[in-house]
């Protein structure tokens, strides 16, 4: 990494700059390592103005102005923060089992984690993306990609629960995903790793010949339901990030790529050789035409679509076997490559839709393509060459501007509503503010440390709320009290409402937040559900009142139809269960009051508790292993008599003839 960076920089005739930088690093290092004695920590936060505390202070009982949704990275979850306070509001389990909520452990949510590889209880969640209408965040859904076993999840923002997970076939790492189109017509999924297509047992060295890179368009229906509309077969570059066009550029999606060298080993060197990699511009409206004309290949595939029904309180998993594939050679005008210097990472489209920023992470300058120029170049056939049926546009024809030497290691850019752009620089650990159109650098501010993504609420939409900016950092080091070798990643909140960016707050996050999304709280608050109406509960094993509770044996399978209400289970005494039975506790929470969940736990259960929301039914699977009498109890402090919310299940020997018996004790008189 160091070697490449150095060699790269030398080619840029900026020795002076390097010298100054080296000096700065040395001085910075000295101050840093003497921090304990000299109080340099204060110097790092020295930019804090006196009113920073009041700017982020949200008084007890008051609400934050924005929701911030941060990906959990390798935690597989999404965490929801209040902005500007930085208070954690909720952790939403998505791709990972969550024992706290029983997610992925209870029978209802297990199917959400089903894939063509079977049950996969973990993934690496990178990019949350809010649904949009007319290019503006609308507060309906939050999408997020799973990178490892390629998937996209949809979170319903009336419940803040995962509503759907779709698997992406023919992909090797779903990184450039799930960036939405202007009206959430589609969310996209580009493969980060080239993989053999179709997947097969071949020599790795046959990469250039056998490997491909697939871009996937996932159609989003009126109720949010996702389905794969089509895939575009491209050379096996590493498709890194994406953003769809807006305004004039609506109808296009831009995917960055690196490893256009198509190497399969020592990528840190081998994939950093080309002077320019590509941004793939996909005309998805054209793709729709080709699909309508039948110019696709129906190809075998194997992927799961998992949907949670709020009416049955249950997810179902469906396996699909084919997918429509478009091949650029056969579909002229579908894809163009825009040469972009040095392994571009993020690709970000400004609020007007005119500028496409390619954040070349190994480049000294920031490259900005112009959509107008791109269309002109296409019309004039200003092609450098053609790769696998994809015309490569001339760099000089598409470039719209260059931000000259703004910093080191640009990764991502977001926008405010005043024509300014904000770019993160990983290596120089800073956010740089610059002007769209004039390309001049206006301001810069350090991050602590090595910022990756950044987020401005609505910052990748047509209507940014340019008040706050959050830097999502990769390195934490000394920012907080030490907690052993592993530290939570840090985030910084900046005020960007003035000419100069101001640091307001520093807070730890969960897992590794890659990207984040922010939205005005008012777009969500009024739609937030408080309970599930019990009369709408269509769970097949529901009990909509204590009169409907029962225990039913079918061979060695036992279904317990149970209810909870403050402060008891019905039934709370169960007998006639036998060792080796397969017992399903279907627990319906009869409560209809906001914030009164009940929990359920039984000794020896090899999964996790249930946490049942008012009006919901959840199911725990339990295999009694030993004879005896085992307690079960409510795990969520629900009421003054929560501690009394308990019961017993008696387990007899395998050959016992004890009949099933269940009861809810009448108070003794």
């Amino acid at each position: 990494m160091k070697f490449i960076l150095t060699s790269n920089l030398y080619t840029m005739r900026s020795q002076t700059r390097i010298f100054v930088l080296a000096l700065a690093i040395m001085i910075g290092g000295l101050i840093y390592f003497n921090g304990c004695q000299t109080g340099a920590k204060q110097a790092a936060g020295g930019a804090l103005s006196a009113d920073a505390a009041s700017a982020v202070y949200v008084a007890p009982g008051e609400y934050d102005e924005f929701y911030g949704f941060m990906s959990g990275g390798f935690s597989g979850q999404v965490s929801v923060y209040g902005i500007p306070s930085g208070r954690l509001l909720k952790v939403i389990p998505v791709f990972s089992q969550d024992a706290e909520k029983g997610y992925g452990y209870n029978e209802e949510t297990k199917p959400l984690l089903n894939t063509s590889f079977g049950f996969i209880p973990w993934d690496d969640a990178h990019h949350p993306e809010l649904s949009q209408t007319k290019g503006e965040t609308d507060g309906r859904w939050l999408f997020i990609n799973g990178n490892n076993t390629p998937r996209i999840a949809r979170i319903d923002l009336t419940t803040f629960e995962t509503a759907e997970i779709i698997e992406i076939p023919n992909s090797g790492g779903n990184h450039s995903s799930p960036f939405t189109t202007e009206n959430t017509e589609y969310v996209v999924a580009g493969t980060r790793f080239g993989v053999p297509y179709p997947q097969k047992d071949v020599e790795i060295a046959s990469y250039a010949e056998n490997f491909k890179g697939m871009l996937t368009y996932v159609k989003v229906g009126a109720e949010g339901e996702m389905d794969i509309a089509f895939q575009v077969l491209l050379p096996a570059f590493d498709y890194d990030l994406a953003h769809s066009g807006k305004g004039n550029s609506h109808g296009w999606t831009f995917f960055t790529s690196y490893n256009t060298e198509q190497k399969h080993n020592l990528l840190e060197v081998n994939a950093s050789q080309n002077d320019k990699d590509f941004i793939a511009a996909v005309n998805w409206k054209k793709a729709e035409e080709y699909i309508a004309q039948g110019k696709f290949k129906e190809m075998p595939a194997n992927y799961c679509v998992n949907r949670y029904s709020e009416s049955t309180h249950m997810a179902t998993s469906e396996t699909k076997k084919t997918v429509k594939v478009l091949i650029p050679e056969e579909c002229p005008g579908l894809v163009y490559f825009l040469p972009t210097p040095k392994s571009p990472h993020g690709v970000d489209v400004d609020p007007t839709g005119e500028y496409i920023i390619g954040n070349g992470k190994l480049s000294a300058d920031l490259t900005v393509h112009s959509f107008t120029n791109m269309i002109k170049a296409i019309d004039n056939k200003d092609f450098e060459t053609t790769i696998a049926g994809v015309p490569v546009l001339k760099y000089e024809s598409v470039i719209g501007g260059t931000v000259v030497k703004p910093g080191l290691g640009p990764l991502h850019t977001e926008f405010d509503n005043n024509g300014n752009a904000y770019t993160t620089f990983f290596i120089s650990s800073e956010v740089v503010k610059w002007k769209l159109g004039t390309w001049e650098v206006l301001d810069r501010i350090p991050t602590y440390y090595s910022v990756g993504h950044l987020m401005i609420p609505g910052g990748d939409s047509r209507k940014p709320d340019g008040k706050y900016l959050i830097a999502l950092n990769k390195i934490t080091k000394d920012r907080y009290l030490p907690t052993g070798p592993e530290m939570n990643h840090s985030a910084q909140l900046y005020d960007i409402s003035g000419d100069k960016m101001k640091l307001l707050l520093d807070f730890p996050t969960i897992g590794e937040p890659h990207y984040a999304q922010g939205i005005a709280a008012s777009k969500i608050v009024s739609k937030s559900k408080k309970i599930y109406p019990i009369e709408e509960n269509k769970h097949p094993y529901r009990a909509l009142g204590e009169k409907e509770t029962k225990v039913v044996r079918e061979g060695n399978v036992v279904h317990v139809y149970m209810t909870t209400i403050r402060s008891h289970f019905a039934p709370d005494n169960i007998e006639g269960i036998k060792v080796g039975d397969k017992v399903y506790f279907h627990v319906t929470n009869l409560e209809q009051d906001f914030d009164v969940p009940h929990g359920f736990a039984v000794q020896g259960a090899q999964n996790a508790e249930l946490l049942i929301m008012p009006g919901q039914t959840e199911t725990m699977y339990w295999e009694p292993q030993r004879e005896g009498v085992f307690p079960f109890y409510c795990t969520d402090f629900c009421s003054a008599l929560h501690q009394e919310m308990q019961g017993y299940v008696r387990v007899s020997g395998k050959s016992s003839n004890l009949p099933l018996k269940w009861s809810l004790g009448e108070p003794e008189s």
Binding site: E591, D593, A640, E644
Partner: protein
């Protein structure tokens, strides 16, 4: 006789139709854990609330201290009150049509009486709920009455209970006042107005 007596009496009668879809009385329970309050709405034919779950939520709260479950099916008033209201609507319209002074007076007095009995009956129910407590209740408080106020506010354990007419109740009051006005108008000589 004043021409206005008729339409005023018709209005007084028609106002009572609102009781079939607007609550008459409201009991609000306030506690820190219930920032929005628990609002129980009493109609002439049912008991509702600020949310579909209100009655269940009130019953859950009440069961800790052994108060009886409020079960609309076992409250006979909710069955026959609608007939009484229908009676007064028809009676009122008839009064307007027949336009007799004594009929206006009778309607006003009869309705006042019914309302007084209704309020007393409501008090008896509240007394019963507040005093006949289950001896096996999880929480027992000696010498405490959990009777909600007939009208006004009262502290009951951790709750503040506020009992006030709801919109239907105010419309009833308006209806009664209008019937009084109608009666007053019916005693006036048209000539006085005309001259």
């Amino acid at each position: 006789m004043n021409k206005l007596a008729k339409p005023v009496m018709v209005l007084a009668s028609i106002l009572l139709v609102s009781l079939f879809f607007l609550p008459m009385w409201n009991i609000t329970l306030l506690a820190p854990q219930y920032p929005d309050g628990v609002e129980m709405h009493i109609y002439i034919n049912k008991i509702g609330g600020s949310s579909p779950g209100t009655l269940q939520n009130v019953n859950i709260l009440n069961h800790y201290i052994g108060m009886k479950k409020i079960e609309p099916d076992s409250i006979p008033e909710l069955k026959y009150m609608p007939s009484i209201i229908v009676f007064f609507i028809v009676f009122g319209l008839l009064t307007a049509v027949l336009n007799k002074k004594w009929l206006f007076a009778t309607w006003f007095i009869a309705f006042t009486l019914v309302l007084c009995i209704g309020l007393y009956d409501f008090y008896l129910w509240e007394y019963d709920y507040g005093h006949s407590l289950d001896a096996n209740a999880p929480m027992k408080f000696d010498d405490e009455s959990f009777q909600p106020p007939l009208i006004g506010r009262k502290v009951i354990l951790n709750f503040v209970a506020i009992s006030m007419p709801h919109i239907g109740g105010y419309l009833v009051a308006l209806s009664l006042s209008l019937s009084a006005v109608a009666f007053w108008l019916s005693t006036k000589n048209t000539k006085i107005i005309a001259s």
